[in-house]
């Protein structure tokens, strides 16, 4: 089958895209600008975009909605304006701010969310937010209407990826965290005693010398004076050791962890994502399953991989569901959990948390949380419905407990 299940070309699709379907684009940078244009030209009529950044000169080589005169203005606002000026019948609502400052309800209001981000933090945050929407019945069956699809793109130079996440069905970011390699870090003793490369000298000035000499001021990677200070001292250190090659550009690259970016890769990856948005929303084609990597440096090569969901993912897995009565204490709840069929034998001394609240913890917090054991669960969590986290040395991962108090 080339089309999605149950798809019929229909006259209802266009008005749905134009009038009803609400899409959120997170990030109005390299991918975001392309995404907004792509979605608008695919007839999506209600688009919103959120970004906390303002426009910088170095954006202009790819973020085509911005001009020299826009430098310093909020990206989301300018991008929304340009799209609306050019394309008729599309409404783009900008949000200039942090994604964390919007409530879960804000994100719930969209049919689909597209990510044009460059940080692991932001991806994790939005992932946790939409996975939090998932609801399971007592048999652990997912309520399909609680799924908020995510389409994610990312690029680095000539490389990129596009992926579709149907939380609860396909792997979420937390299931495949290993796809993001940790940043290279050098041993501090190398920086301090045996520097060999210009990068070692820059990291010394940045990580060791700055906190020593500017104790009160936090290093700000966006502050030109701080960067210049770092450059000056890195050059001095490099000269002292006979190492060459410290340039201001390299200082920026290392300290700000700059990811190289070009227009063409952004265009390709964003367009691939936009196609997936259209497919997911209309079912006009079977969707991508579920991760495509793109490599454009040596010829053109793409590879689509079907990653597997982590059945024990602490963020998106169904976990177990329980309903207890109002009178139950935490100790009694722990007994019920330990006896639950699906975990029996795998739990001996469980710890239990609700959100940031640690209800009962083994380890160093045991004494502090012990009094909670005799309190009623309802009085502790102050709600009738919540997702709890169960930890136990015998469990490889955190177990989710969907608790209802009746």
């Amino acid at each position: 089958m080339l089309v999605g299940p149950g798809f019929e070309p229909s006259e209802a699709i266009l008005p749905f895209l134009r009038e009803d379907c609400r899409v959120l684009v997170i990030g109005a940078g390299g991918l975001g600008c392309e995404l907004l244009k792509d979605l608008a030209l695919l007839a999506f009529g209600n688009i919103e975009v959120i970004d906390m950044d303002t426009i910088d000169v170095s954006n202009l080589n790819r973020q085509f909605l911005f001009r020299m005169k826009d430098v310093g203005k909020p990206k989301a606002v300018v991008a929304a304006e340009r799209i609306q000026e050019r394309i008729e019948g599309v409404k783009v609502v900008p949000h200039f701010g942090r994604i964390e400052d919007k409530s879960p309800e804000f994100y719930k209001g969209f049919h689909i969310i597209v990510l044009g981000l460059d940080s692991v933090e932001a991806r994790s945050w939005i992932n946790e937010t939409v996975c939090g929407f998932l609801e399971y019945d007592d048999d652990g069956q997912l309520d399909l209407s609680t799924i908020k699809p995510l389409v994610d793109g990312g690029t680095e130079g000539f490389k990129g990826h596009a992926r579709v996440i149907l939380p609860g069905i396909t792997p979420c970011f937390a299931c495949t965290m290993w796809l993001f390699p940790p940043q290279v870090k050098f041993p501090l003793c190398t920086l301090a005693e045996t520097p060999r490369t210009p990068v070692h000298c820059i990291e010394y000035a940045h990580l060791i010398q700055w906190p020593k000499e500017n104790e009160i001021v936090e290093f700000d990677v966006d502050n030109v004076e701080h960067l210049q200070w770092c450059h000056k001292n890195a050059v001095k250190r490099a000269e002292q050791f006979g190492i060459g090659g410290v340039t201001f550009s390299l200082v920026q690259g290392v300290v700000k962890n700059i990811i190289p970016a070009i227009a063409s890769t952004n265009a390709i990856v964003a367009a691939a994502c936009a196609t997936e948005v259209l497919k997911t929303v209309t079912m006009c084609c079977a969707g991508m399953d579920n991760y495509m990597m793109y490599m454009g440096a040596e010829g053109i090569y793409t590879h689509t991989v079907k990653y597997e969901k982590d059945a024990e993912c602490p963020v998106c897995s169904s976990g177990i569901s329980l309903t207890i009565s109002e009178s139950k204490t935490l100790a009694e709840l722990i007994d019920v959990v330990s006896a639950h069929a699906s975990v029996k034998g795998n739990i001996s001394a469980p710890s239990i948390s609700c959100g940031s609240m640690n209800l009962y913890m083994h380890g160093p917090l045991e004494e502090a949380t012990r009094p909670n054991l005799q309190r009623k669960v309802k009085d502790l969590i102050m709600t009738n419905k919540a997702t709890l986290a169960i930890n136990d040395k015998k469990l490889p991962r955190t177990l989710r407990l969907n608790l209802t108090i009746a």
């Binding site: 170095s58 790819r62 053109i300």
Partner: protein, 538 residues
């Protein structure tokens, strides 16, 4: 702005891409003149990406005027464009992306321009061709371009599918910038100074701190010497011996007494990099092929690239069989001084190799009665640094590409159609050829008019079937559905597919212009239904 301030502004603006292709690559982009034939969305998007990247100039050729449906998928058109020249409107809106770029347009159909003024194309760096140009005309364009060294890229979308292909007589790349390429450390065949340097280390007399900071290159050289003493002068030959060698390296470590070994990071690195002893310094087979090609016998018409290639070949033939040393070493556990000593040792050897290659270059130039200073030392240095991953790509002509599917081409396509991973996209490739044939016969793409959808499907199916049966190709289970999909879309552009094609066109243009990285070799098929690509290298 002064020249310097202008340079500074540019380096800020293009910072994120200069980190990829360097100032050199950027300078080449900034002198590139690009021509676009056909101003529909794929082409307009390609040009948008190139103008953003900083090309010097563009020329848009299109004879159509803007129709209402053009606005639906082309971001480089606006309401005011309706009824005006498409070339002019796209050119006007492209101008917004850069204050520096010089934009021109020609309101004429590309095929007419090619026929009436073939010489028009000879001064461009690159011509992007995007659909709707007859076969015969394309052949003549290609002839002009090849004879003037102008490179061509074809790209087109067909509803949910797209195709990109390059045409050039020959494209030579020095900086192919491969990822994860093995370095050439020469530990398996050290030159005299390197062997002497390693020999100077008296491991037993070193204090603990220094002992743990002896570079792994030295450790490997020392271990190899010791190993050879016990193995009739030979390095590890097979997997078994290679494993034994690693164990041997571990065993060389100083013990803290009672057999307790405090493993140093440098020894760990030596084990991890032991493969440099049995690989990494040989001549790649691709390069041997270039050495053996007729271009490697220089004539007065040879390019700089091939003259230096011949000089490198002479270097290998007259030396110890090794390539010029690239001269870079990776960071490794070592004290500052030991590392810098080693680094300088490699750099000195690289410099002396460059000097020898340069002498060969001059000798060749003199023997051909050419200016012996024609090729700069910098060029030769860059060449020597990259000898193990040079690329020479020759592209088939349009006629070769389009000729009927017979012989090896048929066998190749058959194998693609029979393999699960490639079957659908190989079929899409044939389908796109069939669409072009359809267009030649019917002067339009299939499925343009809803009323003729069913009839067009049958006609297209007929063309597909005749191509496949003539070549003896097997069909695929989803062939009907694919034919249906391509007709259903008609020529109605789907912007996100056009943007992918435009993005790829621009990316390949950048590789051709900067002379870096490796451009596409065969024909690329993009399938937006599956979100996959296939590279057909015929």
């Amino acid at each position: 702005m002064t020249g310097l301030a202008k340079e500074d502004a540019k380096s800020k603006r293009y910072d994120r891409q200069i980190r990829i292709w360097g100032r050199d690559g950027q300078r080449r982009l900034e002198t590139a003149r690009v021509c676009l034939l056909g101003a529909d969305a794929d082409g307009a998007e390609a040009m948008k990406n190139l103008v953003l990247g900083g090309v010097a100039s563009y020329t848009i050729v299109d004879g159509d005027e803007v129709k209402p449906w053009d606005l639906a998928d082309n971001f480089l058109l606006d309401k005011e464009s309706l009824g005006k020249s498409k070339a002019e409107c796209v050119s006007r809106l492209l101008q917004e992306f850069s204050e520096e770029v010089s934009g021109k347009f020609i309101n004429e159909r590309p095929d007419q321009l090619i026929a009436s003024e073939p010489g028009f194309f000879k001064d461009f760096t690159l011509v992007l061709v995007h659909g709707r140009i007859g076969h015969e005309v394309l052949v003549s364009l290609e002839k002009t371009c090849r004879s003037h060294g102008v490179k061509l890229i074809f790209g087109r979308s067909y509803g949910l599918f797209g195709m990109v292909r390059i045409s050039a007589e020959e494209h030579d790349v020095i900086e192919s910038k491969p990822e994860n390429a093995l370095l050439d450390l020469r530990v398996n065949r050290p030159w005299k100074e390197l062997a002497e340097y390693a020999g100077k280390f008296d491991m037993e007399s070193l204090d603990d701190m220094t002992y743990k900071h002896v570079p792994f290159v030295v450790l490997l050289l020392k271990a190899a010497e010791l190993w050879k003493q016990g193995h009739q002068g030979a390095l590890p030959a097979d997997r078994q011996q290679q494993r034994e060698f690693k164990q041997f390296v571990r065993g060389l470590q100083r013990s803290k007494g009672e057999g307790f070994v405090d493993e140093g990071d440098n020894f760990k690195e030596a084990v991890d990099n032991a493969h440099y002893l049995w690989g990494g310094s040989s001549i790649p087979s691709e390069l041997l092929e270039y050495f053996g090609s007729s271009s490697c016998t220089p004539t007065v018409d040879s390019s700089d690239f091939w003259i230096v290639m011949a000089a490198v070949k002479a270097f290998v033939d007259n030396g110890d069989g090794a390539l010029p040393l690239p001269g870079s070493i990776p960071d490794m556990t070592a004290t500052t001084d030991l590392y810098l000593d080693l680094k300088r040792l490699y750099e000195r050897k690289a410099d002396s190799d460059v000097a020898r290659v340069e002498a060969n270059v001059k000798e060749i130039l003199v023997s051909l009665a050419l200016d012996k200073n024609r090729i700069s030392t910098e060029y030769i240095r860059l060449f020597c640094k990259n000898t193990s991953h040079l690329k020479v790509i020759k592209y088939p002509t349009i006629e070769e590409e389009r000729q009927s599917i017979t012989g090896s081409k048929s066998t190749y396509l058959k194998s693609l159609l029979l393999s699960e991973d490639t079957a659908e996209n190989a079929f899409v490739y044939i389908l796109m050829h069939a669409c072009d044939k359809f267009e030649e016969i019917n002067t339009q793409q299939p499925g343009i008019f809803d009323s003729e959808l069913e009839a067009d499907k049958e006609r297209l199916k007929g063309i597909v079937n005749s191509i496949m049966s003539e070549a003896g190709l097997p069909t695929i289970p989803l062939s009907e559905e694919y034919i249906h999909e391509v007709c259903r879309m008609g020529s109605g552009g789907i912007h996100s597919v056009e943007a992918v094609v435009g993005g790829i066109l621009a990316q390949e243009a950048i590789k051709l212009i900067t002379n870096q990285f490796v451009p596409l070799k065969g024909t690329l098929v993009y399938n937006a239904i599956r979100g996959t690509t296939l590279n057909l290298g015929m």
